[in-house]
């Protein structure tokens, strides 16, 4: 590969510099060739192309500027030690604080920042998986003109030629990802002052009706912001607040505060089956349309409107009793609704909240920070139709994939992207975009915290971020570092402080707007099947489609992965005579897509749910179907559709099929009223045999407790574990034959005859004290240590797989093939150096993050003390937004895990087999409303 790249390079660049570069490339970073900062920078710039072509060297380079770690400022890199850096990553334009682990200048793991209020140490699947995008193999490495290797200089010349015709940016459209950071805002105004005719679109492929609702109600764009730690009764109308990309982590943590004490009650009315629906104490599955009537009826019951809806009796009763309870809890109630509901319905929900006194502390409004002069997508469509577009620059967005625009007639097109996509295919210039982890920027969180984002290493390829790119075409050629530093003008001390803490300052963003009265108009009726197009929970709008972790992550309820499906309810499937895997044709007017069916109990009847973001052309290798096709300028995400069977079948990759095993109780649920009656189970089962001694150290007995009452099934732990433990992805075909490698899986259990309830149970190795796997291994590759860890010695494993057969939990994972990608150089750099990369033919499983235990032990030994409670946090525990996972030492009676294990409602799954699992679970506690129980 290396040679081949060199050859390409010879043809495209001056050979003499290449000889120089390939000579120097043999030297380690920081070798004597670097004399001063400037020459070094120039040199690196010169080297850019060859780095890009040659892939990477043995090591990622540190950034040119000084960066500051979160705890201590290191003199330099400490070999063998990880350093953590505070910064933030953007989600839908707002920053969320993260702590990035860096090992020898290689970022290897992204966790939430414990001090940042929008993460509090937790991190979502998308945030964590971003590390994989950083090392993605298919990143664009050098600028391409018409798909041929070129350079930034050549681009700049082209740009100047373009400016001769359009000096004020006439007809220039810039499409960028939503970005509410002060830096971008400033850059935008610099740009507009030089090119006043240029138009900006903050391009979100899945734009809701939130801002319309806000305009309607307040006359300006405000974002509702909730505090779920206060309300005792919560009702959600089709809004999955646990999965909110911007605030989901905070909402989950807040919700868990009262839920852990069983002091709140959650109602959910929704079409799809969401995490919020699974957590709800009462849930109704209704169509988008019926939900609007239910909202109207509730508004009537609460005295907000005079109009009321025609509803079925049971729905009416349901709303009535909910309304009764809400009235009882004035000031402690909150109603939330989907951003995709019609604006006036959303406005109605705001009004109900006002009536219920939610504005006192559980609901507020924050500034949206959207630029008032931003254009809308429809303006661009119009301009394209009128041929008024002279240049189109797409910054990280992919409109060719997710909209219907045609840019072939636009004279000047440039696309700044991390990797190739549908838009780069049609762009004249394709420019490499830096990953956020390799460049400077700043960010604003939704609640107003400003973060200066430092890079963890310098650019791996010849790439630029949005700020640098805009600076380049402004002819400023400022580096992102100089721009950000210049913008904030901080003293060196303050600057370093801001970098270290990850928080520069907090702006006040909360607003107290005055309401306008909004008249509610009843929704237009859809008699047909209701088709819901939703952002994929992990791939979002397809932005992350080339992220293997996210592709392989089972969707929380359906447990399908690698491609999208049409979810429909069992009744609808019966009516249409459809089974799982049947390919159907879904048509909206004259446009149609073909997609396999997946039957999902608990969905609203006569609704079909299809996730967007799949079926990408060149990323994610065509997994799934692109449902964006069904949208047009005028259509919204809820449509009226027809469905018909095509007769063909496509097997869907699914990690957990639908089985009923009556008589077993791996997941235990109890009503709040009966919680006190739960009796502690005796761990010592009657036996005729003398009990075999279990080796036990005097200091530590590691154990875990998982609170099923708090687990909302978000899958963050699965990715956290995958990232920490170098767990490979196996691909669609291997998932289909049942060989996924996740060490922790989220088991989904249905409850009730109609599967009206879903519960989640994270399941990983439970570290049995009497582990069945250990006895049967002929070479002793899996054994017990005296601290209670069931260990897996990869080096010793010969791969008989007997241990897995004898594991009642089936949590062991086998490398049936050589799953670890040992050939992509960039991906190799991502691996956590603390964890062995397993070879083919070896069994593996959860180790309780033994590498973290060892590290804590070393630290404690150095200080001559015992490990403190809470000092070790497993990877799954750290990321959990609801803090459902506790890990610690059972020999310490004061440890949190000891307390939890001592609870009467703490039980071991399949403990009746005598395995004595060290991971115990706390019952799922339901808090039903007595009126609704019947």
């Amino acid at each position: 590969m290396y040679r081949k790249d060199l050859k390409t390079h010879w043809t495209s660049e001056d050979p003499s510099t290449e000889v120089l570069e390939s000579l120097h490339r043999e030297f380690p970073v920081d070798a004597s060739i670097f004399e001063g900062p400037d020459s070094r920078r120039d040199f690196l710039k010169l080297m850019g192309a060859s780095f890009a072509l040659g892939g990477m060297n043995s090591c990622v380079r540190s950034p040119l500027e000084k960066i500051v770690s979160s705890v201590i400022a290191p003199v330099s890199v400490i070999p063998g030690k990880s350093i953590f850096f505070s910064r933030s990553l953007s989600q839908n334009g707002f920053g969320i604080g993260v702590l990035v682990e860096s090992y020898m200048n290689r970022p290897i793991k992204i966790d939430g920042h414990p001090d940042h209020p929008m993460s509090l140490g937790a991190s979502s699947v998308a945030l964590q998986a971003d590390i994989l995008n950083f090392y993605a193999q298919d990143r664009i490495k050098i600028p391409l003109r018409k798909k041929f290797d070129s350079s930034w200089m050549a681009f700049h010349e082209d740009w100047k030629k373009y400016l001769i015709k359009n000096p004020a940016g006439e007809g220039l459209w810039i499409l960028h990802e939503p970005d509410y950071s002060p830096g971008f805002h400033h850059m935008r105004s610099l740009f507009v002052s030089k090119f006043p005719q240029a138009q900006f679109i903050s391009y979100d492929s899945i734009d809701s009706k939130r801002s319309e609702a806000s305009e309607l109600l307040f006359g300006r764009d405000l974002i509702p912001f909730f505090d779920f730690s206060k309300p005792k009764v919560i009702l959600s109308f089709d809004y999955d607040f646990f999965s909110d990309p911007v605030s989901g982590l905070k909402y989950s943590r807040d919700f868990a505060k009262l839920r852990s004490k069983n002091k709140n009650r959650l109602y959910s009315v929704e079409t799809d089956y969401s995490l919020t629906g699974a957590m709800a104490d009462h849930r109704l599955a209704r169509t988008h349309q019926s939900i609007q009537f239910l909202i109207l009826q509730l508004a009537f019951e609460l005295g907000v409107t005079l109009a009321h809806a025609e509803l079925k009796i049971e729905d009416k009763e349901w709303i009535k009793s909910v309304a009764r309870e809400f009235k009882k809890h004035h000031g402690e109630a909150l109603i939330v609704g989907s951003e995709f509901l019609p604006p006036e319905v959303q406005a109605l929900i705001y009004q109900m909240n006002e009536k219920l006194g939610a504005f006192q502390d559980s609901m507020s409004f924050v500034k949206s920070h959207a630029h008032p002069e931003n254009k809308k997508k429809s303006d661009l469509y119009q301009a394209l139709k009128n041929k008024k577009v002279s240049g189109l620059i797409t910054l990280g967005v992919n409109p060719i994939y997710d909209s219907h625009i045609n840019i072939s007639k636009v004279p000047f097109t440039a696309s700044l992207q991390q990797s190739e996509n549908e838009t780069t295919e049609q762009s004249y210039w394709v420019l490499p975009e830096s990953h956020p982890l390799e460049c400077w920027s700043d960010a604003r969180s939704i609640n107003g915290i400003i973060t200066i984002n430092q890079p963890l290493c310098s650019e791996m390829y010849d790439s630029k971020n949005t700020l640098e790119f805009l600076s380049l075409i402004l002819d400023d050629h400022q580096s992102s570092h100089d721009f950000i530093k210049g913008l904030w003008g901080l003293s060196q001390n303050d600057w370093e402080k801001a970098l270290r803490s990850g928080q520069l300052k907090k702006e006040t963003v909360i607003e107290h707007p005055a309401f306008k009265k909004v008249k509610f108009t009843p929704p237009h009726t859809i008699n047909n099947i209701e088709l819901h197009l939703k952002a994929d929970p992990y791939l979002y709008d397809g932005k992350f489609a080339n992220n293997g972790w996210l592709q392989e992550l089972p969707r929380p309820i359906s447990k399908t992965c690698w491609g999208n499906v049409a979810l429909l309810s069992p009744d609808l499937a019966k009516e249409k005579k459809l089974k799982n895997n049947d390919v159907v044709k879904i048509s909206v007017d004259e446009i149609s897509i073909e997609i396999p069916v997946w039957i999902q109990p608990g969905l609203a009847d006569s609704a079909i749910i299809v996730n967007l973001g799949h079926g990408r052309k060149n990323q994610g290798k065509k997994y799934g179907t692109n449902a964006f096709k069904l949208l047009s300028e005028k259509r919204f995400f809820v449509l009226s559709a027809d469905i018909s069977k095509t007769g063909s079948v496509k097997e869907v990759a699914c990690t957990q099929l639908h089985h009923n095993f009556p008589g077993t109780e791996p997941l235990r649920v109890v009503d709040l009223g009966d919680l006190k009656k739960v009796k502690k189970e005796d761990k010592n089962l009657p036996t005729l045999f003398p009990t075999a001694p279990i080796p036990q150290s005097e200091k530590y007995a590691w154990a875990m407790s998982i609170d099923l009452n708090l687990c909302n099934g978000c899958n963050a732990c699965v990715i956290g574990c995958q990232s920490e433990n170098n767990i490979p992805i196996v691909g669609e075909e291997q998932v289909k034959v049942g060989r996924e490698m996740h060490w922790i899986r989220i088991d989904r259990y249905y409850e009730g005859p109609d599967y009206s309830k879903v519960h989640f149970q994270p399941m990983a190795c439970v570290h049995c004290e009497k582990a069945p796997c250990e006895v049967v291994c002929p070479v002793g590759a899996t054994n017990h240590n005296d601290e209670g860890l069931n260990q897996m010695v990869y080096n010793r494993c010969v791969g008989t797989r007997y241990c897995s057969n004898n594991c009642p939990y089936k949590v062991r994972r086998f490398n049936f093939l050589d799953y670890n990608d040992r050939y992509s150089r960039s991906l190799k750099l991502r691996s956590n150096p603390e964890v062995t990369v397993r070879s083919r033919g070896v069994m593996e499983k959860c180790s309780y993050c033994v590498q973290r235990i060892s590290e804590a032990k070393i630290n404690a030994d150095l200080e001559d003390r015992n490990i403190r409670d809470g000092e070790i946090k497993t990877a799954c525990q750290v990321v959990c937004p609801t803090q459902a996972i506790t890990f610690g030492n059972l020999l310490d009676p004061k440890s949190e895990v000891s307390h939890k294990h001592a609870e009467a409602h703490s039980y071991g799954v399949l403990a009746e087999l005598g395995t004595r699992p060290r991971t115990e679970y706390l019952y799922r506690v339901k808090n039903p409303q007595p009126d609704l129980l019947s």
């Binding site: 069945p772 049967v776 010793r796 010969v798 791969g799 057969n805 089936k810 086998f814 050589d818």
Partner: protein, 444 residues
């Protein structure tokens, strides 16, 4: 109907002439060449399948989590089972003074050895990292690492290797007088030398015979318990685990019975064509077929009892998991396997109650094939249906074999055919000396 165990006209001389002439013939019929060719094709298939397996890993098969064992261990247990009849016939029937064993013991023993070779391939190649197979052996090393002796797989290593060793010795000792006959009758010098070396200086003196008989009985006494122990140990691979459907105390006797059942089926599968092609009707008489059929019937009933008891115990235990496995076997996604094996192993042998069928070689041959298939399905059922749905419904899965699973199975059958053809060509398939003795006794 005939009840004799050797043709009335056979004498010591005719026996010696007939059997040794088969081996010493210049040319073998084209049927043997067809058999050999098929065997070689099969052996090459195995070679290719195993090479690809070693290159890629177990993932070329259909195994997964939860079904981590499937065709690999099914084939192992099936072949080991087949490898039981030979030693059972030679050793146990010898100790029981069953004269009718004489004509079938030699090739049955060869069948045993070859089947155990085929079986032995699987524990080796089914390893994730087969190049470390020797870690299962207790060899001294500088790291002081020993195998884990509590594991039944470890016991397997000892049980199977002991069985191979004793079976081979027993077979070879029995061959010595016959090798001397071949040495004496061979016309070409190199052939004489080779058989002469193998005959180890046998001259047929009274002292030789005395030592020979003593050794032979001694080895028989050693081999007899091994017949029982090997498959007992193999059954413990399953019985020791906690998996419902495996964890069962009936497994040892049930597996041994199943092994003898399948072994005798294979003896019939081989004996019937042999007696036809090599005109051995006066040595392998209808009486032999009938007696083998009776053993088959008895063992079939034993196996049926095993199936019945499994169901009964599942119900009687009241254990939800045990009951589930039983129901899942009979009515789950692999129900067809269960009902096929009920047909093959329980229903079809019942025709053996009829004496005319017991003496009908063609029907017996077909029945023996059916039983061989049934016994393979039985092992598949035990392994796969227990694994694919165990304690937690969330981890249930399905097993689908790949083309490589089938090629590996067919490949070992090819290897079996190949080695058996070589045996037929090079060694007397019937014990000459024992038959001479029998001819003397019976046809006085």
């Amino acid at each position: 109907m005939s009840t004799e165990i050797i043709g009335a006209k056979e004498t010591a001389g005719s026996v010696s002439d007939h059997i040794s002439s088969i081996v010493l013939k210049e040319k073998f019929g084209f049927k043997w060449y067809i058999g050999l060719t098929l065997g070689i094709i099969g052996t090459f298939t195995l070679f290719i399948a195993v090479t690809y397996l070693f290159m890629k890993g177990i993932g070329i098969w259909g195994n997964n989590i939860p079904v981590a064992w499937a065709f690999d261990i099914t084939n192992f247990v099936w072949w080991i089972g087949i490898g039981h009849a030979g030693t059972f016939i030679s050793a146990i029937l010898l100790l029981l003074r069953q004269k009718w064993r004489t004509s079938i013991n030699r090739f049955a023993e060869a069948m045993t050895l070859i089947a155990v070779v085929c079986a032995g391939i699987f524990p080796l190649i089914h390893l994730g990292r087969p190049w470390f197979f020797f870690w299962l052996l207790p060899y001294p090393n500088e790291q002081n690492m020993w195998p884990q002796f509590r594991s039944p797989l470890m016991w397997d290593v000892f049980a199977v290797s002991t069985y191979v060793l004793i079976s081979f010795l027993f077979w070879f000792i029995g061959l010595i007088p016959d090798l001397a006959v071949l040495r004496d009758r061979a016309k070409k010098k190199p052939v004489r030398i080779i058989y002469g070396i193998l005959a180890m200086g046998w001259r047929g003196s009274a002292t030789h015979w005395q030592n020979y008989e003593r050794t032979y009985f001694l080895l028989a006494a050693l081999a007899a318990p091994l017949v029982i122990s090997v498959h007992t140990i193999v059954s413990l691979d399953f019985a020791v685990s906690i998996l419902p459907g495996w964890h069962s105390t009936i497994f040892p006797p049930y597996f041994v019975a199943g092994a003898i059942f399948s072994g005798f089926a294979m003896v019939l599968t081989l004996a019937i064509p042999l007696r036809k092609f090599f005109h051995l009707e006066s040595y392998i008489t209808l009486k032999h077929l009938e007696n083998s059929s009776m053993v088959l019937l008895a063992m079939g009933l034993f196996v049926a009892y095993g199936y019945l008891m499994e169901m009964m115990m599942a119900w009687w235990s009241g254990d939800v998991f045990e009951r589930h496995v039983a129901m899942n076997r009979a009515f789950g996604p692999y129900a067809w396997v269960y009902w096929c094996l009920v047909f093959c192993n329980i229903l079809s042998p019942q025709i053996l109650w009829s004496k005319s069928i017991r003496q009908n070689p063609l029907v017996l041959f077909l029945l023996s094939i059916v039983i061989n298939i049934g016994m393979w399905l039985e092992r598949f059922m035990i392994i796969v249906t227990s694994l694919h749905r165990d304690f937690l419904a969330s981890s249930w899965g399905m097993f689908k074999p790949t083309v490589w699973d089938f090629l590996t199975l067919l490949g070992t059958i090819g290897l079996f055919v190949f080695l058996f053809m070589v045996f037929l060509r090079l060694l007397p398939m019937i014990a000459i000396s024992e038959m001479q003795k029998l001819a003397d006794e019976e046809n006085k």
